[in-house]
Structures are given as structure tokens and as C-alpha cells.
């Protein structure tokens, strides 16, 4: 595969609160949308802790005044970032962005191109596949609290990925996308629009990383996943931003009849990291698996809000979130299962497990059910606990030090979720990231 490197001309750094984006190379309809979104952003109030969707969240961290568009990436940085943009051995395609600038594009095989698979940066897709792109782009409203930030994203988005997999096409290896924060106080607005047509099959993994783990930065991403009838999509987010990054990620997943959508969000980095996940089961027989794993330490705050929305009958959703908390870190979960009036024979599950490793760590979980149909099977539960003393003693009695024993137990605890992906290569990679986080903590 040949890297196609696009040079980008950037004007002087623009503060993101002076929006919207002034890039003139986008089509007019797109720029109009950006202006509209900017007006929306300006009129909407900042989140308040008293709002239910922001309960327990430290909204004071959302001061965006210091963040700006990144300067053009220097040649040295480009080389370094590309060298570090390796994760999986075998991929179907790869895009690398840093400070929202495209650094590298490893295109798909000719075979996949011939079959009509589209894997493009946004700016090309909006020109070359305008109708398809416009049909789905930012089509799902952000209903879990971050409408204002979705508007901010919309008014600034300039880079990201459009993936379209045509009817019946199965892509064996994952597509991977890297988003890097590079400059100090840089802001990025990563976007992923994934559309799998009928009976298509695809896996996409997004890596979120900071070139310098100490530099402050801001990330406000949106990913919209659309699984057509009988299609199978898997989405993995490996969030490993630097320690002083504020990150918001707004996800929507739509599963048509007999479709399967599986997502796994791994959260390791960031000072404050929130993700909102809306999973809508719109066709009969649809299934959605919502998986998440996090390890937080120091003063990190992770914040997850979810909605499993059963619109059609005979649909299933299964949420499993596991969090390990160290130091004074905090984790908030707010999740709702909603079974709409006609969605009979729904199976919906929600399970959140928090493992508190230090006395000062804090987890708040708010699970919820709203059932408007008959004949449904639903369960939800959230628990927080500490490492079992007997389990710890057992490991120590084998000569394993307390620190390593804790690490083993935590990894075992999280492993249940990672195994659910049923993708060994990605699972190994994610476990490696968790190991790295533990070794950083030493």
C-alpha cells in the first residue's frame, strides 16, 4: 500500500470559541451546515451539574477557552507520529490524522476497491459520494447531554473517515484509524461515519493518542455507525489520550433488522473523558452489544452515558461495562434501557461493575429502565466493590507481590469484557495498552 500524503495549508491558529471553521475548500452546503451548527452551539447553554445527563460530572473541566486549531505538523513530528502509528499487524486500511491533519492514507486492497468499498477522508467523501454522505452525516441527534458539543463538532469538523461497505461485502481485517493530538492546547474533532449495507461485515478500530502525554488538548469526536439489514459491524475505540486532555465522544449506532452491532470503548487516558453511546434497534431481530472497559488513576474522571433504545420487536441489547479505579479517580455511569411501545419480545441487559482499588476512588452508577411494551426480558445492575481479600491472599501465597497480584486480578476482571469482542488480535492489543497503563503508574 502506498501512502498518499496530503499537504494542508493552515492559516494562523484559530481559537475554537471563535468558530466556525473558516476553511473555504469544503462544498458550500457543508459550510452552510457548519455555520448553522455554530449558531446552535452559541445559543445552547453550557452543561450544568444539575442537569440529569451531567449529574456527578465535573462540568468545570469543560472550559474550552484555551483550545485552538493545531499548527501545521512539522516534518519531524510527521515522521515520529507515523512511526508510532502502529497497532495491529494485519489491517485492511489505515488513516493517520494529527491535529486534524491527514498524515497518511494506506488505501484498501484493489479487490475491496473493486467491490465498491469506500474508505476515504471526509473531505473527499463529501465530494465524491455526496448523496450517500449527506444522507447519513450528523443525522442522529445527540440526545444524551452533549447536543451543544455535537454542534461544536459539526461547526469545526474537518477531518475524519467515511467507510461504506456495499451489500454482501465482508472485510476480513480491521480498518484502523489514528487520531493524534500533537500541539499544545490543540483541539481535534475526529469523525467517523461507518455505513454497512445489507449483509456486509466490517470492523473499525480508532486509536486516540497524544504525541506528548503531558500537553493539554481537547478532543470532541462523533462516530455514527449504521448497520444495515443483516450486516455485522464491530467498532473499537482505544482511547489513550495524554494526561491533560479533555475528551468528549458522541456515538450513535443504528441496527436494522437482523443486524448486529458490537462496540467496545476502552478508556485509559485523558483528564476528563466522557462518552455517550446511543444504540437504536430499529429493525426486528437486531442485536447490539455495548462493551466498555476503563482503568483510571490519579485525578482522572471518566463519564459514560448510554441509551439502549428498543424500537422494534424481537431485538436484543447487552451492555457490559467494567471499570477499575485507582487513586482519587472518578467514574460515572448513567444508562437507560428504553423499550418502546411496540418493541415486544425485547431482551435487554445492562451490567456495570466497578472495582475500587483505592479508598479515595469514587464510582457513581445510575442504571435505569423504561419499559413500554409487554413480554420483555430486561435486567440491569451496577455494583462497586474491592478486590476480594481471599483472592489477594491466594495470589500472594504463590509468591506474587501485592502490586503484581493487583494487576493480575484487575486484568482478569476486565478480560471478560475484552473476550466478548471475539477478535483475538484486537484483544491482545487492548490488553497491551492496559499493561502499558499499569507500567506508567509505577
Amino acid at each position: 500500500m502506498k501512502p498518499a500524503i496530503l499537504d494542508q495549508l493552515m492559516t494562523e491558529a484559530q481559537a475554537i470559541l471563535s468558530g466556525p471553521s473558516r476553511r473555504s475548500d469544503f462544498p458550500k452546503w457543508f459550510r452552510d451546515q457548519q455555520h448553522g451548527a455554530w449558531s446552535k452551539f452559541q445559543t445552547m447553554p453550557m452543561p450544568n451539574r444539575k442537569d440529569q445527563p451531567w449529574r456527578f460530572s465535573n462540568v468545570d473541566l469543560l472550559d474550552l477557552s484555551q483550545f485552538k486549531l493545531g499548527a501545521p505538523i512539522t516534518d519531524n513530528d510527521r515522521i515520529e507520529i507515523l512511526e508510532r502509528s502502529r497497532a495491529l499487524e494485519q489491517v485492511a486500511g489505515r488513516l493517520v490524522f494529527a491535529d486534524d491533519q491527514l498524515l497518511q492514507r494506506d488505501v484498501l486492497s484493489e479487490d475491496l476497491q473493486r467491490k465498491g468499498v469506500v474508505f476515504q477522508p471526509l473531505e473527499r467523501a463529501m465530494v465524491e459520494h455526496t448523496d450517500l454522505f449527506r444522507k447519513y452525516f450528523m443525522s442522529e441527534p445527540a440526545t444524551l447531554g452533549s447536543a451543544k458539543f455535537a454542534a461544536l463538532h459539526h461547526s469545526w469538523v474537518s477531518s475524519g473517515t467515511f467507510v461504506f461497505v456495499p451489500r454482501g461485502v465482508e472485510i476480513e481485517f480491521p480498518i484502523e484509524i489514528f487520531h493524534w493530538l500533537s500541539g499544545e492546547n490543540s483541539a481535534v474533532f475526529p469523525h467517523l461515519l461507518l455505513v454497512a449495507d445489507e449483509l456486509a461485515k466490517v470492523t473499525v478500530i480508532e486509536h486516540f493518542r497524544s504525541q506528548d502525554r503531558q500537553l493539554p488538548g481537547f478532543a470532541c469526536g462523533v462516530n455514527d455507525l449504521i448497520s444495515g439489514p443483516g450486516a455485522k459491524i464491530t467498532y473499537v475505540c482505544a482511547q489513550n489520550w495524554g494526561e491533560n486532555v479533555i475528551a468528549l465522544q458522541i456515538n450513535s449506532t443504528k441496527a436494522d433488522h437482523d443486524a448486529a452491532a458490537k462496540s467496545l470503548n476502552l478508556h485509559l487516558g485523558g483528564k476528563y473523558s466522557r462518552f455517550e453511546s446511543l444504540s437504536r434497534l430499529i429493525g426486528e431481530g437486531a442485536r447490539s452489544d455495548l462493551l466498555a472497559v476503563s482503568v483510571s488513576d490519579g485525578n482522572q474522571e471518566f463519564d459514560a452515558r448510554t441509551l439502549q433504545d428498543h424500537v422494534s420487536p424481537h431485538t436484543a441489547s447487552d451492555l457490559l461495562y467494567k471499570n477499575a479505579l485507582k487513586g482519587r479517580s472518578r467514574n460515572t455511569f448513567g444508562g437507560l434501557i428504553r423499550v418502546e411501545p411496540h418493541a415486544h419480545f425485547t431482551d435487554a441487559y445492562q451490567k456495570v461493575r466497578n472495582l475500587l482499588l483505592d479508598d479515595d476512588a469514587e464510582a457513581n452508577s445510575m442504571p435505569g429502565l423504561e419499559i413500554l411494551a409487554d413480554n420483555v426480558k430486561c435486567s440491569h445492575g451496577a455494583t462497586s466493590g474491592q478486590i476480594d481479600a481471599d483472592e489477594m491472599f491466594y495470589l500472594r501465597s504463590r509468591g506474587i507481590t501485592p502490586a503484581i497480584a493487583q494487576q493480575l486480578i484487575v486484568k482478569g476482571f476486565l478480560n471478560e469484557v475484552i473476550e466478548r469482542l471475539e477478535q483475538p488480535a484486537i484483544a491482545d492489543y487492548l490488553r497491551g495498552l492496559i499493561d502499558e497503563k499499569f507500567s506508567r503508574a509505577k
Partner: protein
């Protein structure tokens, strides 16, 4: 790795001889030595002045009725934090065991096969044992994966365990027999100097018992001292001890050769209780 790490080097001391030549003599016997041990849990004394010596290379069995404090003794030796040692001493080849943390004791050569081993969800047998073997290596030295697996498979074969076992989570969903076998597998892999086997026979059918006993017997040798704790004589048909001790009410009340076990089987524990009572009166 802790600073007390000494590997398996015997402790030796130099003593000046009359002819101003140095000769080296051990300061202690190679043995696990328990002297007048007293243990409490929640202000209740369970072990009440127990003394016992297990020389390296020998197999000693402790038998006793329920509630005599056998399992407490096992856990205290391993350093379980719930138990409070109020008196006495425990040494292993002369080293004070009681001042060591549980993981240090293990690295220094003590092993406990649990009566009820914990489940460790999501941690495979392979990774668990690997961490345990790695913990015994000097800092900076990495365990060679191929050597490790070769040894692991060899020991598993000895215990009639299928290789697929290595990828199962430790004790999760294991049958009683599988749990006990896994304990003995760990014993075989970790090669301790002294092993305490707590009710390793409980919950085993006769075939599983034979396999486990075969595993233990194959590990017997001059470099391993074994303390078998059991309620029933049955186990001792398969692992024949050098010495048998009877524990009643937190103390050893009688010691003898292996024939003592048969006598207990025949007469029950009551007569030893009476003797213990007499001792208390005296």
C-alpha cells in the same frame, strides 16, 4: 523483588576452630520448626501452644477432629492476615517466618495447598503460574517462555491434566478434583522447600485421590518437607507419612510413626481427646 531474597542458598556461618582454621557448619537444621505457637482469630484462641518439627525430606501428617485448629495452622503458616499470632516462633531453615509477608514466605520456599482455593476470574492458569514463577527470578531476568511451557506441560502430564487447562481461568468453575489437582500442579511448578497440604483429599473421589497422591509422591525427595493435614486416614494409604501427629484443641497431643494413623482410624479421636484433657489437668 524484596531485599531479603536469598534464593536457595543454605545459610552457613563460619566458626573458628582451635587450629585457627575455618570450617563451615550450619547454624540450624534444615527443617520447618514450629515452637509453642499461639494463634487467635477475633479474640478466640485456636492454636494453643503447638510445637512441631518437619525436617526437609520427610512427610509428616497432622490428623485431628473438626475444629482442632488444623486449617488455622495451615493458614497461619502461609501468613493469612485474619489470624493473629500471639506467641511462639516459626522458622524455616533457621529463618523467622512470622516476620515475612505472605508472598515473601512463598518466595523463600513455603507452599500452601489450599483446602478451598480461590477463584481468580479472567486470569488463566498459564498466566497465573507464570507470574508466580517469574516472581522467584532475580530482578531484571525474564522467564523464558518456551522453557516455562515445557515444564508446565511436563508437570501437567504427571497429574493427568489436559493442556487445554492452561487457558482456563484459575479455579473458575472447576470441580473439586480439578481444584486440588491444580494446587498440586502449582506445588510441582514452584518447587518449594516445605509444602503444607490442607485437606487435599477432601472432596475427591478415589480416582482423583490416586492421581493427586501420585503427583505428591513423585515430588517426594530429600529437598522437600511435606506437612499433610487431613481429617481421614484414607489419604495416608496413598501418601504414606514418615510421622503422624494428632492435633486436638490447638495442640499436638500425640506423635508417632505411620501406624498411629491406623490406630486413630480404629479407635476414633475420643481417646486422644481424653489424653489431651488429662494433659490439661496436669
Amino acid at each position: 523483588m524484596d531485599e531479603n531474597w536469598r534464593g536457595n542458598l543454605p545459610q552457613i556461618a563460619a566458626r573458628k576452630t582451635g587450629k585457627s582454621r575455618y570450617s563451615f557448619v550450619p547454624l540450624f537444621m534444615n527443617e520447618l520448626n514450629i515452637q509453642n505457637l499461639r494463634v487467635e482469630i477475633a479474640d478466640r484462641e485456636i492454636v494453643r501452644g503447638l510445637s512441631l518439627t518437619v525436617p526437609c525430606g520427610e512427610v509428616h501428617a497432622i490428623m485431628g477432629p473438626n475444629g482442632s485448629g488444623k486449617s488455622t495452622l495451615a493458614k497461619v503458616l502461609a501468613g493469612h492476615p485474619d489470624y493473629h499470632v500471639t506467641g511462639g516462633a516459626v522458622t524455616m531453615d533457621g529463618e523467622n517466618v512470622l516476620e515475612l509477608e505472605p508472598d515473601e514466605r512463598a518466595r523463600h520456599g513455603l507452599f500452601l495447598a489450599f483446602q478451598y482455593p480461590s477463584e481468580v476470574p479472567g486470569v488463566t492458569i498459564a498466566n497465573f503460574l507464570r507470574a508466580a514463577v517469574q516472581a522467584r527470578m532475580p530482578e531484571g531476568e525474564e522467564l523464558e517462555a518456551t522453557d516455562y511451557y515445557a515444564k508446565l506441560y511436563e508437570k501437567m502430564e504427571l497429574l493427568g491434566m489436559d493442556r487445554s487447562f492452561t487457558s482456563r481461568s484459575v479455579n473458575e468453575g472447576f470441580s473439586g478434583g480439578e481444584k486440588k489437582r491444580t494446587e498440586i500442579l502449582q506445588l510441582a511448578m514452584l518447587e518449594p522447600k516445605y509444602a503444607v497440604l490442607d485437606e487435599t483429599d477432601s472432596g475427591l473421589d478415589i480416582d482423583a485421590l490416586k492421581t493427586v497422591a501420585h503427583g505428591v509422591n513423585s515430588l517426594r525427595g530429600p529437598n522437600l518437607g511435606i506437612l499433610l493435614i487431613t481429617h481421614y486416614q484414607r489419604l495416608l494409604n496413598y501418601i504414606v507419612p514418615d510421622h503422624v501427629h494428632v492435633m486436638v484443641a490447638g495442640r499436638i497431643v500425640r506423635s508417632g510413626r505411620k501406624e498411629l494413623a491406623l490406630e486413630l482410624e480404629e479407635r476414633g479421636y475420643d481417646w486422644t481427646r481424653e489424653e489431651a484433657g488429662e494433659m490439661a489437668v496436669r
